[in-house]
Symmetry: C2
Subunit: 556 residues, 2 copies
């Protein structure tokens, strides 16, 4: 019987010594639980993704030094960790197997993802170093993330060479459909190859990405026998009922030294499963918390309009960093209704957060008179609407500058897609919490929150027709189709890069679709200047979406 521990930890990109220390703490924990092997996620020593830090040769060298330091402290347990390896010419996304103070073997990732948010071919060379390991006579294969997603990838070779256990180190970012995909894939792989799979996944937020943990151990019949928590650090310890096996003479194996431990059989460790909308909520909370703390902030400020977007963001912020660290600011104008203003205050009261009020009318009027001469003869239009949004952006940024609070931007994906938002206005801020959340999901989140937290969001916020309140009687639906239609269109056009023809088949409304596609295309310049925000869909406006601004492609 082999006891394996999966350490799904929350590391920070670039924090080489901090990450090493966290690993040592987890190695200690695992040893205490009599684990034979403890496994850490992909590139967990340097954090994932390190991006262009990898272009700094001194960064790579420092990562190797930390690996050597860590190796020296390992005893009484085997450790598998992800790091950046280097030979004369190239870098490799690598895993080291360490035991008794020494690195026993190194694996180089073969399949490098270079699509979506991934740029691994920018940095790494495809690996050709694929040793077979043996632990207590049991043949083991080690591979990394994408390696197991590729049809007939390196795992097939490892299984054919007799591996009874496959260890996969992952840093797989969350999106709404990922969990089911991942489970299905791994279960299928275990069953077809008759191997145990130990899949350890990173947890934590890194700029626009959230890694959701949820590590898995699957037996050689394809049954999930253990799982890690989602969106939290965890140490999954599990006993694998697997016997030593002779492999062909030809296969060279690296024997990992070990001491046989006497241990009582463990109970099965399985984490609670969440619903899809709960997972989205948890991703947003974790992503926000990690962005705030990992960047050295302590408090955040949110502009509260009394609308649903800012309300949901305020709830997430409170959940992430506590009510004492969230400040709400209302910035009423002549177009703000008494309803929304009262709701903003009520929400702040329900949340127990501080709220400040800075009215913008006077500032707005001074701007208008300063511009009067230059704008003589021109009608009021979107210029004046944007001006109000920008005054509010300035006020939030003034609080940020004065007190060191991070501004959380409150715009949703539906707005950002069609450009129904003001650059340097409501788009201002350091982190855009619900940037990738379509409006229909924002409503679902609000309902979830209210179900779990006794209607903390005033009901009128959920029922009132959405409005930017930048001119008299304005409603979102004066300019946009209903959000269900819009979000379905965005899913097709943005997430799936579908053609007009295909989208119209689904949404039926040709005229609206054409109008919205025009708006989406035209708004590229705005998105380019948007703050980062948490990816929750299969394609977010971030590293996932690299459309040219200068672009004359037209389908119609």
């Amino acid at each position: 019987m082999l006891r394996i521990a999966l350490a799904q930890i929350n590391v920070t990109v670039g924090d080489l010594s901090g990450n090493r220390e966290k690993m040592l703490a987890y190695i200690k924990k695992a040893r205490k639980q009599q684990a034979d092997i403890v496994v850490f996620p992909e590139l967990s020593l340097c954090g994932y993704p390190p991006e262009d830090l990898l272009y700094k040769n001194h960064f790579v060298k420092d990562n190797l030094k930390e690996l050597q330091k860590l190796a020296k402290e390992v005893s009484g347990i085997a450790v598998v960790i992800g790091f950046v390896d280097q030979d004369k010419e190239s870098l490799y996304n690598a895993a080291a197997v360490i035991a008794d103070g020494k690195i026993r073997g190194i694996y180089h990732k073969e399949s490098l993802p270079n699509y979506g948010v991934f740029d691994e071919k920018r940095y790494f060379k495809e690996g050709r170093k694929n040793p077979m390991f043996s632990f207590q006579g049991i043949p083991l294969g080690v591979n990394i993330c994408e390696d197991i997603w590729i049809k007939d990838g390196v795992y097939r070779k490892q299984a054919r060479q007799g591996a009874k256990i496959l260890i996969n180190l992952s840093s797989s970012p969350y999106d709404v459909g990922k969990l089911e995909q991942r489970e299905e894939l791994l279960v299928d792989c275990a069953r077809k190859n008759k191997v145990f799979i130990c899949y350890v996944n990173l947890v934590g937020g890194q700029d626009e990405l959230v890694f959701d943990g949820g590590s898995l151990v699957i037996d050689n019949n394809g049954e999930i026998i253990a799982s890690g928590k989602q969106f939290e650090e965890d140490l999954v310890v599990v006993d694998l009922d697997v016997l030593p096996r002779k492999v062909k003479q030809k296969t060279k194996r690296i024997v990992i030294p070990c001491e046989e431990k006497t241990k009582k059989v463990l109970g099965k460790q399985k984490a609670r499963k969440f619903s899809q909308i709960e997972r989205i909520y948890k991703a947003l909370v974790l992503g926000t918390r990690d962005y705030v703390y990992k960047n050295g902030f302590h408090k955040v400020v949110v502009g509260l309009s009394g609308g649903i977007d800012s309300s949901v963001v305020a709830v997430i912020a409170r959940e992430a960093i506590g009510k004492r660290n969230v400040i709400g600011i209302t910035m009423p104008s002549q177009y703000s209704s008494s309803g929304t203003q009262a709701d903003a205050k009520k929400l702040a009261k329900n949340l127990g957060i501080k709220i400040l009020e800075v009215p913008i009318n006077e500032i707005f009027n001074v701007y208008k008179s300063a511009l009067k001469k230059a704008f003589l003869g021109a009608k009021e239009d979107v210029t004046e609407e944007n001006l109000q949004a920008r005054i509010r952006g300035n006020i939030l940024m003034a609080f940020s500058n004065k007190f060191g609070w991070l501004v959380l931007t409150t715009g949703n994906k539906s707005e950002l897609a069609v450009g129904y938002c003001t650059l340097y206005g409501d788009m201002s801020g350091g982190f855009a919490v619900i940037k990738d959340v379509p409006k229909t999901y924002v409503y679902e989140l609000a309902r979830l929150i209210n179900a779990q937290k006794k209607n903390i969001i005033p009901k009128s916020i959920l029922t009132r027709a959405p409005s930017a309140e930048l001119k008299e009687g304005q409603k979102d639906q004066d300019s946009l189709p209903d959000y269900k239609t819009l979000d379905s269109l965005i899913e097709g056009y943005v997430e799936d890069h579908q053609s007009l023809e295909k989208i119209v088949k689904k949404t039926k409304n040709l005229k609206a679709v054409k109008e919205m596609i025009k708006l989406i295309d035209k708004s590229e310049y705005k998105r380019r200047q948007a703050p980062p925000g948490i990816k929750i869909t299969s394609r977010a406006f971030g590293k996932d979406w690299r459309l040219p601004i200068t672009n004359k492609y037209k389908e119609f």
Copy 2:
């Protein structure tokens, strides 16, 4: 004798039919000049780089349709053009050889750059389609851009198979050192392989990239026998003194049908060479012009502070789109000196552009009183400085919204590197003309401009100590080292990803270097929200620079 024409054209990304029409016009021109073959740049049918447009299958199909349409119209000349090819599973960066209404052969690019600004492995598969062509009995090889930059790349194979002429289709972006690199490489390649090289390069601006043209024809002794204009469209027509040659029986060749033309020997066509600083100026003018027009703007607005950055940007804008289309705005505050204000007006007069004045003091004061209560007890600090910059940003954006003028941002690379600029303030705008120009180069540009244009920039602008004028008596050098030191440090840290140790060896000043590196690291969040601007150095803050915001890597 074979007459070849290199059509270095300025296409627009996504404008498939427009690009095809431009090609047809150039094919006609080339035929008129009795050319046997006319060659267009890499991916010129769809524009370069098409980025995630390539994820739209309908885009790829439309590009193929345009290729077929174009092929049908070709007669009396052979045409080589760059397009996106597709098989069942993959896309290829391809070149088609067309003659007499038909595609005769297709080449797939083998070496795909995936570093710096390039993401070709995100989209394309490495090519394995490499046919040998024969034209009038002369063996020809076709390859694409990076193919010829790789040691022992596909061109070696083509030469070994007997090619006497290599045609290279490029879309190679400009930077300060590129021209010399390119010439050296191609000359060396021609000489070593005893081949003629016909190198055709794209011209024009595309978001942050400028393609500089400068196509080259090199004979089989390594002598440059023709060159295209830099930063302008051009048709280089040249006679190659090369005789038919027998190649080994085994080598399969695609024979390109042709009619022998009687023609008089042409004179040599060589374009004027520019100095390095002239090339930078030309790159900025072309990049600005193309961004403005290709995005459907007609006029631009520039905030004129009386400083050197905005002055140089205004000159570039006028050169790019004409004085009637550039509007200057001065926005004086209590901290503006009479000197800078007078200089701004004098500059506008010298340029013959319209200038408007919108003072910001009153607006600034109203903000301060609106924030008075919340800021009670806090000292004036960078908050108030940023507020002024943001008011100015808002005013420029108001003009943009009201009249449809594009705001040109005037910040330079030195500022952006260390964050000596205000997000949503002076960083506001659609296009940042000198974003990648270090301050020392800005001065060089100003001197070049004044030498060529009779001191159009008032001399006092060049001699006054730089200041943001956001508080009493402020000077840049109160917060920053002298710009020569700073720019040298930025070159090391940003362009070359050098370590602290290496930089200090060059710049000597350890304390200042440490301070500046901290500032550069800390300012990543600002750069992420900066508008696009023209790349002129070997590494610009754009697609070239992908550093995480959340990043705890510290060298000291």
